[in-house]
């Protein structure tokens, strides 16, 4: 029973990329000093940090001056929403979001605009573009936020059309590309772009935020030399993020095609299981994410049952998160919130891993249904 573990929960925390690990260790030795100091040790750290910033900016398609490093993706999203709102205070305090944005975006938006109602999505989690255009065109909108793709169910959002509507209304658009960068081309349909190094195989501890110079933005919080990462960003984390980004962008298309094929096969296998709903757009989606909900099964027991069979997966069901509420994404889609399983393939995931997983799901679901007395329903 000593089969190898299969890690299928790579969304937002991918296994460490070898390039990230190597760069991180080198930077621990040579870049440990405070990059704000003027001595040789400090300058060496500064040099590493500047190189990392240049590399990340190039990877995201922005100028170095437009790139801000933060303590992490959640901090990026909080800062982006609050600073964009502060920069547009005279325009108003309304914040337009979709109902399936990351919790960090929705929480920051509520702080600015407590009465705001997110724009609804369809059954595949894609934002309603007409409602979006109507929402951003209202007077008093400070900013809009739309993810590039939904990390929970994989569906891509129409960011190009959403940006057009924002442009017409003179509203800046924040695009959360945390689940996309490193996997698909995110293009340039954004005013502010948030990317998550931990999602592309760097150690968690740094975030990347690109702010077009045309965007009026005012950082919030007490005065600090670096308002985006008060006290300064971790140099080894920045260096690792840059090295991993360079590495994943080199063969991004191949890695995406390979995983897209595996996900398509997995989708077919899972769809054949009785009373299982596979979620999200079947075509226009992230290449490595697959999510499904199983009727008459609780998410916690299913995650446990799969874990015992050697598979690590995520879940948006209520009992598997720290909150008592189920995933707001599943709820907004009108999807079944219990028995939810989210699979995010790592770059290392093999065809054999996916085939073994596909064979394990049916029996795992069946075992939980039997325990709950729902085997015959």
């Amino acid at each position: 029973m000593t089969q190898t573990r299969v890690y299928l929960d790579a969304g937002g925390r991918a296994p460490l990329h070898p390039a990230a690990r190597e760069a991180f260790l080198v930077a621990l030795d040579s870049g440990w000093a405070d990059p704000r100091r003027l001595h040789s040790e400090g300058r060496r750290a500064r040099h590493l940090l500047d190189g990392a910033r240049a590399e990340i900016a190039a990877g995201l398609g922005c100028r170095v001056e437009e790139l801000h490093l933060t303590p992490g993706h959640t901090a990026s999203l909080h800062s982006a929403v609050l600073s964009m709102a502060a920069g547009r205070r005279r325009a108003g305090n309304l914040v337009v979001t979709s109902a399936v944005e990351r919790a960090a975006v929705l929480a920051a938006a509520r702080q600015v605009d407590p009465d705001g109602r997110p724009v609804p999505v369809d059954a595949e989690a894609r934002v309603d573009l007409d409602a979006w255009a109507e929402a951003v065109a209202r007077p008093g909108v400070a900013l809009a936020a739309l993810q590039h793709a939904n990390g929970e169910v994989g569906t891509r959002q129409p960011t190009v059309a959403a940006l057009e509507a924002c442009r017409a209304a003179g509203v800046p658009l924040l695009v959360d590309a945390g689940a996309s960068v490193g996997h698909v081309d995110v293009g340039d349909a954004w005013d502010v772009l948030a990317a998550d190094p931990a999602d592309w195989g760097s150690p968690a501890g740094v975030g990347a935020l690109a702010v077009r110079s045309r965007v009026r933005i005012r950082p919030v919080g007490p005065e600090d030399e670096d308002p985006w990462a008060p006290g300064g960003v971790s140099v080894p984390h920045a260096v690792a993020a840059a090295a991993a980004l360079r590495a994943v962008l080199t063969d991004r298309a191949d890695a995406a095609d390979r995983r897209r094929g595996l996900v398509a096969d997995l989708r077919r296998a899972i769809s054949a299981i009785r009373d299982v709903d596979v979620l999200g757009d079947p075509g226009d989606r992230l290449p490595h994410v697959l999510t499904f909900s199983c009727l008459y099964v609780d998410g916690e027991s299913l995650v446990d049952a799969l874990d015992r069979r050697g598979f690590a997966v995520g879940s948006g069901s209520a009992c598997t998160s720290s909150a008592l509420e189920p995933s707001h994404v599943l709820a907004a889609m009108g999807a079944l919130t219990h028995g939810n399983v989210r699979v995010a393939l790592a770059r290392e995931t093999t065809r054999e891993d996916v085939e073994r997983f596909a064979e394990a799901v049916g029996p795992a679901v069946g075992s939980v249904r039997a325990i709950l007395g729902a085997g015959e329903l």
């Binding site: 099964v297 209520a318 009108g334 999807a335 219990h338």
Partner: protein, 75 residues
Amino acid sequence: MIVDARGLRCPLPIIRLAAAARDLAPGEQVEVLWTDVAARHDIPAWARMRGHAVLKTQPLDEGWSTTVQIGTSAV
């Protein structure tokens, strides 16, 4: 028919509801009482997957009540 699933955590309210629905004929109604917040989303999702119709949901002194009509093409 009434299924009192108050105090039960998901997916148990849906399992109790499905067990009751199995014995009903198309067009008949079942009312489920619930407190777990996931049921708000999961009762309509279950009804959609099974071909039933959610007629109404209303608050009670304790929890909520949702009325479901069994579909003619129900599986």
